[in-house]
Symmetry: C2
Subunit: 208 residues, 2 copies
């Protein structure tokens, strides 16, 4: 039954996107066939090819749809005024993985259900690389906070940035590979806070 309402058309597009995320999460990107996606969405491959150029394009559309401006929180350093701001940025991102199911699932697909191949580099770049570049951002963030007197000036921001990155990636990866081990909302903030507090100017006597 062709030629539907614009609204119906948009529904089928979203339906395909939703099913694709599930299928990718179950089967992995490479082994997922457009046939299977179309079947489970209740359409044929014709519908998929109408809305998306091919599987890679479908995957990219999924990313655009889900990620949106998620990582933009890491963009502007100037807004970081104290350690708590930094903690909030990091924890908000982590918490969203748990809160926003589609975001969490998609991230898991990107990291652990998709074999890295050159063809997919531009698609994975947005997700994988942004996370990879986070070290630099963290070092810069710590420098910024140090200049504001929020961090002991005698510390090495390079080294602390790496340590912070280790914490972040560790939490990220553990949750990715097994969400039952820790909770992004309940456990992550405590770990990051205790680490960031350890960077404070005076060890434990800042009762100002």
């Amino acid at each position: 039954m062709p030629r539907k309402t614009k609204e119906e058309t948009e529904q089928t597009r979203r339906r395909i996107l939703d099913v694709a995320l599930d299928v990718f999460a179950e089967t992995g990107y490479t082994r997922s066939s457009l046939q299977d996606i179309a079947d489970r969405a209740g359409f044929t491959r014709g519908a998929v090819y109408w809305h998306f150029k091919n599987k890679a394009d479908l995957f990219a559309a999924l990313g655009d749809d889900i990620e949106g401006e998620s990582i933009e929180a890491f963009e502007d350093l100037s807004r970081l005024r104290n350690r708590q701001d930094l903690q909030r940025v990091l924890c908000d991102y982590l918490a969203r993985l748990e809160t926003d199911e589609r975001f969490g699932t998609f991230s898991r697909v990107v990291w652990y259900r998709t074999e890295w191949v050159e063809e997919l580099e531009p698609l994975l770049r947005s997700s994988r690389h942004e996370l990879r570049d986070l070290v630099q951002w963290m070092v810069a963030a710590l420098r910024q906070l140090a200049s504001l007197g929020e961090i002991d000036p005698r510390r090495d921001p390079q080294k602390d940035g790496l340590a912070l990155y280790i914490h972040f990636v560790g939490i990220y990866t553990i949750w990715m590979t097994d969400p039952t081990v820790l909770s992004m909302v309940d456990d992550a903030p405590g770990h990051l806070k205790s680490f960031l507090d350890g960077l404070a100017p005076r060890p434990l006597a800042d009762a100002d």
Copy 2:
């Protein structure tokens, strides 16, 4: 030219294994074809099918060949006598990723070049799951050290075990996704040591 010496036969088997590791690392498991592997090894698929049942079997053989008794270091807790022992076990494992190139490459293939699918579960289990189960081991290890007076008894081994696991997985993952960010041999020990030292009975005054 069939019917070779036993030694020659073993050479082709190893050659196929070596090439397979390279191909898997480059192309990813799913997209690697036995055709490509055979070509680059200088044989035909016939040779591959002679030595291995199929691709999954080849992958499993690779794992057996490389991993060997690598994780057995984590087996017996009883040998842990002090914090340094624990640090050594962890650091040795991490360092081996960098030192033993085949081990490092294979681990990367398992985690980041292979889409998780049911068919491969028994194969990935040995690598992925052992790492996943490490939390439990770490908690137990910390309990053991606490009973030996190596760790402040007022601390929570459950929480510290998770924190240690976060460190370990963080370092592991960062190196996996980009080995240039940190060195397993040079950087990892320092990070783990400073964490473990923080668990000592008396904060900073144990100059016994």
